[in-house]
């Protein structure tokens, strides 16, 4: 990049100051890079929240911001005026005090962070919004991604709103609702005959090809920016709990990025003095049919052996999770765990959450609630501790999982028929 572009970046990326390698610590200037040239490790955003001329980040400053993730703009790699740009303004979703589910499971203080309320009905709007700003700054004209479904919809919607082209890649055989929810925004939707991991690999190769020039792949070459969006889940949970950290949190794992960034968000809040520094335990949730991180955790390994996924929880079906090793570190550091549940338990959990709290989760939410239940039953969760579980997406996207739910009876429009039907 030229000096002028770098100067622009300094404005565009707010408190972000560099990309740093999570493996070897090497630092490079902010740019559309995602891999350390020294060791192949993942790059992430490094910040200086105390730069001269920047206002101190206080609870009051945040509380006076918009009802979206942009209330946390001073903690994100985005310009200060980001809320005024054409984007989907995601976030500030509800934190549901789940008394009924808590009572049923035996948890005294349970909350559900319900991210179905985002513009495209999954948490992906958070991460895409950050990647979109980076794409604008770097001058990319096409927004792209590899996706298990939710991300494709979030990218296509964000691109439409921002006036960028979209071309997204999904594995063939995804749920119909997710296909429609991506295609309706008018971008190109390419189904690849393979698993998500193969789609991912294809996109990594496309980036190095002429055809991919000028493209911002939100979860590949914009990944350091994109991933930071998940920090906003941590910020919102803490603010909605009255500026305190939960004592236990259960988070779904696909690549593991969301979990690692929620942990990063909690640590930042502590470092900035916005919450009290108290211990919290991080628990990861996987589906049994794609549980490489859970398997590594239980075996005591610090590397993750890839698997070939086979589960109804397709949005979590990443067999080669990039952030798996970091998830293991965090679960062990905080005294948490990584657990998995069967597809049958996923379906049960979707029904349980719907029946007790009126929240309809997609299969990934079934995984987290299913794991929540299992962690209570096995004594790994403290029943008296303040607990948060993440619901990352809307059940309308995975209707097949609960397709046997249907009408109780079909009757003639008469009171007699109604009484007869109810026995």
């Amino acid at each position: 990049m030229t000096t002028a572009q770098l100067a622009d970046s300094a404005v565009s990326f707010g408190p972000a100051v560099a990309l740093s390698c999570r493996e070897c610590g090497a630092r490079i200037p902010l740019g559309p890079h995602y891999v350390c040239v020294e060791c192949f490790g993942p790059l992430e955003i490094a910040y200086d929240f105390h730069q001269p001329g920047r206002p101190a980040v206080t609870r009051e400053l945040i509380e006076s911001g918009p009802a979206s993730i942009w209330r946390y703009a001073p903690l994100l790699p985005v310009p200060a005026d980001v809320a005024a740009k054409p984007n989907l303004n995601p976030g500030w979703t509800r934190l549901v005090h789940a008394r009924n589910l808590g009572r049923e499971l035996g948890l005294r203080k349970l909350h559900i962070k319900d991210d179905t309320g985002n513009p495209t009905h999954s948490f992906k709007d958070r991460v895409v919004a950050i990647a979109l700003e980076a794409a604008r700054t770097f001058g990319f004209t096409t927004l792209s991604c590899s996706s298990t479904g939710n991300l494709a919809g979030a990218v296509c919607a964000a691109a439409a709103r921002a006036g960028l082209r979209a071309c997204v890649f999904i594995p063939a055989g995804l749920e119909q609702a997710k296909i429609v929810m991506a295609a309706v925004y008018g971008g190109e939707l390419i189904a690849i005959d393979g698993t998500y991991d193969e789609v991912n690999r294809f996109c990594s190769e496309l980036i190095g090809d002429e055809a991919g020039e000028g493209w911002g792949f939100v979860n590949v070459n914009l990944r350091p920016y994109y991933a930071e969006g998940s920090k906003t889940l941590a910020y919102e949970i803490a603010e909605q709990l009255g500026w305190k950290l939960p004592e236990q949190i259960v988070i779904p794992i696909a690549s593991g990025s969301q979990l690692t960034k929620i942990d990063k968000g909690f640590k930042e809040l502590i470092a900035l003095g916005l919450v009290e520094d108290r211990p919290y335990k991080v628990f990861g949730a996987q589906a049994n049919g794609c549980s490489p991180v859970s398997a590594a955790f239980k075996a005591g390994h610090d590397v993750v052996q890839p698997v070939r996924p086979d589960t109804i929880a397709k949005s979590l079906a990443i067999g080669n999770p990039a952030d798996g090793p970091y998830v293991l570190d965090i679960a062990r550091r905080t005294g948490g765990a990584v657990e998995d549940v069967t597809d049958a338990e996923v379906v049960d959990a979707i029904r349980l959450l719907a029946r007790t709290e009126g929240v309809f989760a997609e299969t990934a939410g079934g995984v987290t609630v299913g794991v929540l239940r299992k962690l209570v039953e096995t004594g790994k969760l403290d029943p008296d501790a303040e607990t948060v579980v993440i619901n990352s997406g809307d059940g309308l996207k995975t209707l097949d999982a609960v397709a046997d739910a249907g009408v109780t009876a079909t009757i003639k429009p008469s009171l007699a028929a109604f009484h007869a039907a109810r026995g």
Partner: protein
């Protein structure tokens, strides 16, 4: 065995900008040694100090992830196509 190796963008400084290079070897380990002799510096980018594949490096031989096969001992037949890909991408 003559094979072709697809080089990711961040390693093309070692291959004079080439996205694809030829190499020799009956196993992945031999191919990496051959790459090192023609493109010095590549080996240290792929293998750690203990000589194992770095944990964020994915290598595919004819579309198969070598972690599902025999790792560095994975056979590379005549005409095999290898891809080296950073393992840093993906969903939530």
């Amino acid at each position: 065995m003559a094979v072709t190796v697809r080089i990711p963008t961040i390693l093309r400084t070692y291959t004079g900008g080439s996205a694809e290079v030829s190499a020799q070897g009956a196993t992945l380990a031999e191919v990496i040694e051959d790459l090192e002799s023609n493109h010095p510096g590549l080996r240290a980018r792929l293998l750690d100090d203990a000589g194992k594949l770095r944990r964020f490096v994915n290598v595919y031989v004819d579309d198969d992830d070598v972690r599902f096969a025999d790792g560095l001992a994975t056979a590379t037949g005549e005409g095999a196509k290898l891809s080296i890909i950073p393992a840093v991408a993906g969903g939530c």
